[in-house]
Amino acid sequence: MPRLRLPRPDLGGILPVSTVLLVIVAVWYAAAIGMNARWERDQAARAGTQVSAMQMVGLTLTQDRPVLPAPHQVAAGLYQGLAGQKITSPRSLVWHAWVTLSATLAGFGIGAVAGTALAIGIVHSRSMDQSVMPWAVASQTVPILAIAPMVIVVLSSMGITGLLPKAIIAAWLSFFPVLVGMVKGLRTPDAMQMDQMRSWNASRTQIFWHLRLPSSLPYLFASLKVAIAAALVGTIVGELPAGATAGLGARLLSGSYYGQTVQIWAALFTAAALAAILVAIVARIERGTLARIGHRA
């Protein structure tokens, strides 16, 4: 039966999203009970007691080291980490998030500036374009992130530790999206617009500032959003090698060593929130800038 597609009333974003979120939380609780039950059953069998279904629910949701912590345990861990400590304490998630954030921002800054600079060079020099671009594109297919911990170890054996090695990885990861996006963006002006600039006798610099740069901004921001998320992932993975004691990645690793699942999940959610905030900030700047130069965002 062919159906007529009537315009549906707009449900708004909030109702569907919150429904799906509720379903996820419900599934999570069910999974937590199911996955933690085996340990409780083993304990009960060892003690020679029986556990009723209701007791089981209570027990599985309050374990110290659950296989899967229940949402409220993660929330408690998050609250404990974010608000329950002095922010200078090494148990505080705020402190760890700050360590990660500073390396992320430093790397993102370096990567974005370097990517933009190289893109400008590539757009203006044909030999640079033909030399560098194929490698830049091919390098996107290389799992660079996987070697990040090794870079950290090698750099620390050279005596470089702290923020810089992580920032280098973050910069490397955010460099390529910006480069590829900017090359595309700086090339968007079509022949007619370029001819117009030439008919006004505009110099290369003027063409760059008045035509190429403004028309590349949408591409720049699209790639900046990708780049800042990549920089954060790079920093976190850079914090994984043993020896790192600060940062969200180090929290993940020490949590996995000591079976502190709540700690892992709390660090994970902090990282997720950090990613969301960073992308949202870039998106905000994007909207403001594009509105000011008259783009329809």
Binding site: P16, T19, P143, M150, S157, A229, I236
Partner: protein, 280 residues
């Protein structure tokens, strides 16, 4: 004084490229890229030799090549364990699940509105972070690596596929409706083909993610083989040439994986403008 030959090689390569770049044919473009790459490798080799950089910090390309030849059976074992078992299995499972989920979501506008913002959100998250959790759940062998890869590739493919299923325009849908085509027929004959370019975009992005997930998950625990395991233990023994050998294998595997998917894309979506332009 010892840096003079290095600068000389650089300028020489650059001059050749400046000259070659003026021809701008297919062959000259390939040559320019190849010369650039070779120049970099030559510079690397020369810098290490002339300044006697210790292999612990940066091994020369020749040392890395020697290490690849010497450890080839080890590298093959790691390749099978990490790439074929971990990454490829996970990628196939994750992609299949994402495609099926996208088709299911597509039937319900309510699910679309609910899941898409969450999917977009999750696609931007540092998902590698779940690696320690999944290693705890699924054990040290390749199953946990495949599980990490499944989660990592699921959302990017899902988001792309859902966008792809909406890529048909009203005219095309009306045409199908006027032929009284049932849902299944219009899905298979019209909407799935129209979604292919989007799907392949997602598949290509996730090839790299799959390798990253499989290798990084091994840092959290693995049997005594696998690329991530080998990298971390070789770093511990300061056997840097072996580390770089693994990196070369990972890079080649990543590029080949991407190239294979891109090749399939070209065959499957030959009708799409972006593919047609490539040929002309």
């Amino acid at each position: 004084m010892s840096t003079l030959p290095i600068i000389g090689v650089w300028l020489g390569g650059w001059a050749i490229n400046l000259w070659l770049a003026r021809f701008d044919t297919r062959a000259s473009r390939a040559a320019v890229a190849a010369i650039f790459g070779l120049t970099l490798i030559a510079l690397w080799e020369m810098t290490v030799r002339i300044h006697e950089v210790p292999a612990v910090i940066l091994p020369a390309p020749s040392q890395i090549a020697a290490s690849i030849v010497q450890n080839r059976s080890l590298l093959v074992t790691d390749f099978v364990q990490t790439i074929l078992r971990g990454a490829l299995t996970g990628w196939v499972i994750g992609a299949t699940a994402a495609i099926l989920a996208a088709i299911a979501i597509d039937r319900s506008p309510f699910l679309q509105k609910g899941l898409l913002p969450i999917g977009n959100f999750v696609a931007a998250l540092p998902i590698v972070g779940i690696a320690p959790i999944l290693v705890m759940w699924f054990g040290f062998d390749w199953h946990s690596k495949a599980a990490v890869v499944v989660v990592m590739v699921f959302f990017p493919i899902l988001v792309n596929m859902v966008a792809g299923l909406r890529a048909t325009d009203a005219l095309q849908r009306d045409l199908m409706a006027s032929w009284a085509a049932p849902y299944g027929a219009s899905l298979i004959l019209m909407r799935l083909p129209a979604a292919l370019p989007f799907l392949f975009n997602g598949l290509k992005i996730t090839t790299t993610l799959a390798l990253i997930g499989a290798i990084v998950a091994e840092f959290f625990g693995s049997p005594t083989k696998g690329m991530g395991f080998r990298i971390s233990t070789a770093v511990g023994r300061l056997d840097l040439p072996l580390v770089w050998a693994e990196i070369v294998v990972a890079a080649l595997a990543g590029t080949c994986f991407y190239a294979i998917v891109a090749l399939i894309e070209r065959r499957a979506t030959f009708w799409h403008p972006s593919q047609r332009n490539n040929r002309g």
